[in-house]
Amino acid sequence: MIENYSVPSSVAEAAQLLQQGDATIVAGGTDLTPQTEAGARTFASHLVNIQRIEEMRGISTSDGRFRIGGLTTVTEILESKILAEEIPVLVEAADHFASPQIRNAATLAGNLCNASPAGDMCIPLLLLDAEVELASWVDGSVAIRSVPLAEFFTGPGKTVLQAGELLVAVEFRQPAKGFTASFQKSGPRPALEISTVSMGLAAVLQDGLLTGVRIAIGAVAPTPLRATATESTLEGRALDENMISSAVQSVQQEVSPIDDVRASAWYRKHLTGVYIRRALSHVAGN
């Protein structure tokens, strides 16, 4: 039962409120509402609406780093001119996300903190070696810690977020010159589809060799997965048919999908192979 409702207007105010404990954070509400309505989740005694924290909105760059405020919506990512120009893979993922109405409400922080293995925005951000900035109230002031996104997820719906912590922003470095990245997502419908499998792949192709390989896959493991073993087998190698075949083999070993209502484990594994082949062909064609 909710006994308290707060609407903080700054990160500091929110952190102080959250430090009192037993709080549920609400942002866009697109995950929280269906989960609580269905009884899959119950509210803490204090509902904290973070939507009025202006400092948590917007996309900015400085010193070769990008910063996206946690309350930035998926629509704002989709409509961002600077992202379309500099980081198109983020815009692609936003374009595959739900429906216009959901994108208008869904926040980036909400997508990450919900920690679904199928969360679409996790995939491009994993390719970018993004870090999440977490705020809490310690000894009378705001304490900030940065966590690599790859270490943020610990299981379905689980993250390293401590009670009282707020995800304030996501940051990543401007990718190296020649960086190409792609995002693929499957589901039987073009819209409003939770990914059956999603895959992002990024690399720099120079003189026929791949470097800086990043592979992130959704809905094939308990968390959005960085396929680091496959990444290292591809690193520094020539991009040819041989390499693509070994990539398919390696990535299919690295995933651990389950059977569920959306697809069988077998199909997910198969799709993972198809997607890595396509993604590498995409890099080759760039």
Binding site: I2, Y5, G29, L47, N49, P100, Q101, A191
Partner: protein, 163 residues
């Protein structure tokens, strides 16, 4: 007594105040506290779009939003788009193109159609039938197809481009 929060916002152009439980959804508030029953609570999961309303120039599924978050914002429902006597041009177009069967999904569909056209107004890129279909991806009609809906929206795009 369970907790109620007082909020104030602009509803279809008029300032309003209301007390709501903190987890009441916006669609329930609009229907139960203001008798604005155009928007429907159908799937309750953001899949069907029948509850679409506009909040500060963005359409959302009002079934996924807590009413308390309307505080300080501008909320527009289908009832604020036009009146029965004076239909707004999008509503009129749906009537003229027969883009209606049972009508249940229409208020949300029209709110979203209006948004899609407004979003693209002034762009160099001319709105295509594909753009309209994509813009309406979050709105489901279970009676019929979507051809007449797209016809209606396309007619509004043409009409507004020529004025």
């Amino acid at each position: 007594m369970s907790l109620e929060i007082e909020i104030g916002f602009t509803l279809n152009g008029r300032p309003v105040k209301v007390r709501v439980p903190p987890t009441m959804t916006a669609v329930s508030m609009l229907r139960e506290k203001f008798d604005l029953t155009g928007g429907k609570l159908a799937c309750g999961e953001g899949e069907c779009g029948a509850c679409t309303v506009k909040i500060d120039n963005r359409t959302i599924n009002s079934c996924l939003m807590f009413a308390v978050d309307c505080d300080g914002r501008e909320v527009q429902t289908i009832e604020g788009l036009g009146s029965v006597k004076g239909l707004e041009i999008m509503q009129q177009a749906f009537v003229e193109h027969g883009a209606i069967q049972c009508g249940y999904c229409m208020p949300g569909m029209i709110m979203q159609a209006r948004y899609v056209v407004d979003q693209n107004a002034g762009n160099e890129h001319k709105v295509t039938r594909d753009d309209i279909a994509r813009g309406l991806e979050g709105n489901v009609c279970r009676c019929s197809g979507y051809t007449k809906v797209v016809d209606a929206v396309a007619a509004v795009v043409l009409e507004e481009a020529s004025t």
